[in-house]
Symmetry: C2
Subunit: 193 residues, 2 copies
DNA sequence: CAGGTTATGGACCGATCAGTCCATAACAAG
DNA sequence: CTTGTTATGGACTGATCGGTCCATAACCTG
């Protein structure tokens, strides 16, 4: 019926995620987005509306991908502590983080609570991560790996907070070994040492 | 010998810290800085050079103040765990964090390792915070409060990472109770539960 | 091949960006 | 009070910002 797009929408958004995560929302110029996404100016506005809507779509997609990675790590069999450690470190190969950073943490730091649409995405993502953490923590409690009186919700909140800190540390140049060591040390708080 | 300044340099920088912490470096326009600092455009450039140098001076000053607050908390007598908890939460009354955010975490998220001058300030600040944490951790080990085989340097790195996460959580709207609970849970990893 | 529809690229828009220029104001030293 | 020096405010700069307009290209349907 009409001329088809010359670019792949998913790839374009993946590229937009990289640009936004590297520079932040405000500092990511539309020209940088166009260049990074490999599409024309009019195509960006035609396909995504405007910079803000593109950002929200990128943020949603990033949150989905990040959640998938963590869920996969948490689903691994074996000790709960190992699964949780893997989830804490998922996607934190520090080279990537230096290049691009975490769009979720970046958006929280940049927007705080000022943008309702950003809040909605981040709140929904946080709720899912918390639920996934809490479930695996409960496993660990049931198996006797963690302390019997452990509050799974509180533990999940601590783990999410810890993960934010690990992302900041990775963005600041910390190596994978340091990150793992910090994660392990904090996780010792979950259980019978 | 000449006309004196009409503004107080310290107050002006304190205001600049607020503007930079709220918006980030790139998104803080010179007009916003001028308005927030309550000085004229020419005064800003005359007294501080340019936006970048003003930012570096603000970042240095913020790091100094933040370090002072943590050192004061760590110096309190009594149990090491209480002093460390106070240091972790120092300056994190979440209302402030929602308004302004942490300039240190903000600069790491925005610049990663791309700016040598920013790196220098943040690296120096991190080294001091790590040393202060490690010293108090050693106290706790010596007094039997923490596990005897605890690596104080590793513990300090974990605590710094945790603090970054707490700042992100506060910026994202977490209440003081949640922050304290997360801090306590992670700190349980330091000791004999 | 023809007609309808959408995608594309480049020129273009007013607004705002960081930073400069300059005339004037306000002070200290003589 | 005069003179030298610095601080101040407002006008101004070229560059870049996010976003729009429009002519043209490329495709699908008939």
């Amino acid at each position: 019926m009409a001329r088809p797009s010359e670019f792949d929408r998913d790839e374009a958004i993946a590229s937009a995620i990289r640009v936004f995560a590297r520079h932040g929302y405000e500092a990511a110029s539309t020209s940088a987005l166009i260049e990074g996404m490999g599409i024309g100016r009019q195509s960006l506005y035609g396909a995504f509306g405007d910079k803000r809507r593109l950002f929200l779509e990128a943020l949603r997609r990033y949150a989905d991908g990040s959640l998938d990675g963590m869920a996969a790590a948490l689903a691994r069999p074996g000790r709960a502590s190992e699964a949780i450690e893997a989830a804490l470190l998922a996607g934190l190969g520090s080279a990537d983080e230096l290049e691009s950073g975490c769009l979720g943490v970046g958006s929280i730091v940049e927007f705080s609570r000022s943008d309702p649409d950003v809040n909605a995405v981040n709140d929904a993502a946080a709720a899912q991560v918390l639920a996934a953490f809490a479930a695996r923590v409960k496993d660990g409690v049931a198996s006797g790996e963690f302390a019997a009186d452990l509050d799974a919700q509180a533990a999940a909140r601590m783990l999410l907070t810890l993960r934010s800190g690990l992302k900041v540390a990775a963005r600041g140049g910390a190596g994978e070994d340091e990150l793992r060591e910090a994660a392990r040390l904090a996780m010792r708080g979950l259980g019978r040492v």
